[in-house]
Symmetry: C3
Subunit: 160 residues, 3 copies
């Protein structure tokens, strides 16, 4: 177990450059032609970070809908099928009114609200030296649990 310091802004660096805080906000729209699915959005998030000009900071990526997720895992199609089977077991899709109390409102997607709690709403990713500071296999995904309509993801970059 060990620690290695990689980057710390120093007083000298602050004097040399503009160390004021910067922020950028962008919204991505996704429209999946199925109820459930995944999209690797790492390239889009990278592009926002690059446009932001932030060298050191964080980027928040969150679903703006409560039946969708942004999460980080492996870009492997077999695993994605495993996620699908597993989530269906943990929180089954049952469109019948009697299956979930939420369906008394006319909705049929209570399972999507539950699945999203397992997979999470958001990720916060470090930006180091102007780039997403991800591990070797970390990829950012949009997870859809009630698709067939356009939905938004918010990307907020904060840093200097």
């Amino acid at each position: 177990m060990g620690a290695r310091i990689v980057r710390r802004t120093t007083a000298a660096e602050y004097l040399e450059r503009d160390a004021a805080m910067k922020s950028t906000t962008e919204y991505l729209t996704f429209h999946l032609p199925s109820r459930l699915g995944w999209i690797n959005i790492t390239p889009q998030v990278e592009a926002v970070v690059e446009r932001s000009g932030v060298a050191e900071g964080i980027v928040l990526c969150n679903a703006m809908h409560i039946t969708a997720s942004v999460f980080i895992n492996d870009d492997e199609s077999g695993l994605h099928q495993d996620f699908r089977v597993w989530l269906e077991k943990l929180a089954p899709y049952h469109p019948a009114v009697e299956a979930y109390q939420h369906h008394h409102t006319g909705e049929d997607n209570a399972d999507a609200h539950l699945k999203r709690q397992v997979m999470g709403r958001e990720v916060v990713v470090a930006i180091t030296r102007g780039e997403l500071d991800l591990g070797p296999w970390e990829q950012i995904f949009y997870g859809e649990f009630d698709g067939n309509r356009p939905k938004r993801v918010l990307i907020k970059v904060l840093g200097e």
Copy 2:
């Protein structure tokens, strides 16, 4: 799939105004008269953001207790009942000593620690143009899994 830029602070803006970082920290206390329940805390978080004077940034909202959650989902009572039933199935309340190893300490709330992992500890929400940047149905909830006593939520605003 498309991206729309909504707000990016520019060098000119930085010169015009005070772009220094601001932070605000507030603590909310909740006391639910039941073991399990939800409170919509969006108005309280909005009030903290407004008091902070931050225009662009993020707000972190987290439970300070390990048997409670802060999460974002729908403010619909049927769904809330579905969450309750579902969490009870995933991590059942069994106060008996033999039900969970944690109960050998004298506690009876191991299920609450597990439920909180499903629902999450915290949310990070973007602040854009001085307001919580939430999707149309996103509401922030305090989730209690071992109530009948006062518990705290931390709200930290960071931005400019």
Copy 3:
């Protein structure tokens, strides 16, 4: 239900001191001699925060591997055993090729990818007056679901 303001940086404070943003990034490496396990990493995170010199801000702690977690819960060995049993029930370890689609790639750790979604990838913790602003029982853990090899955790401090 009540709110108490604890700390808000004021215009006067900004004039008095250097309010520029600071950031620090460190990487910790963990090598667990077992497939599954937990390490309390609160002291290491505290040390990074102290070294950063940040008084008000946040710290992001995330696993850089997709079969590991950083999460916050109780430092109690009975509960840790309960987590183990519970996760095994929700997402069982089955190394056989036919158990998970992911195993057709030659991997045997699909369960670890699922377990990590339940426990989460990251935590964001407030820094107030130079210290981790944790509740009385909150402790930060590294959770390993596919060990026996070195893995990294990223710690990013952002604030002023």
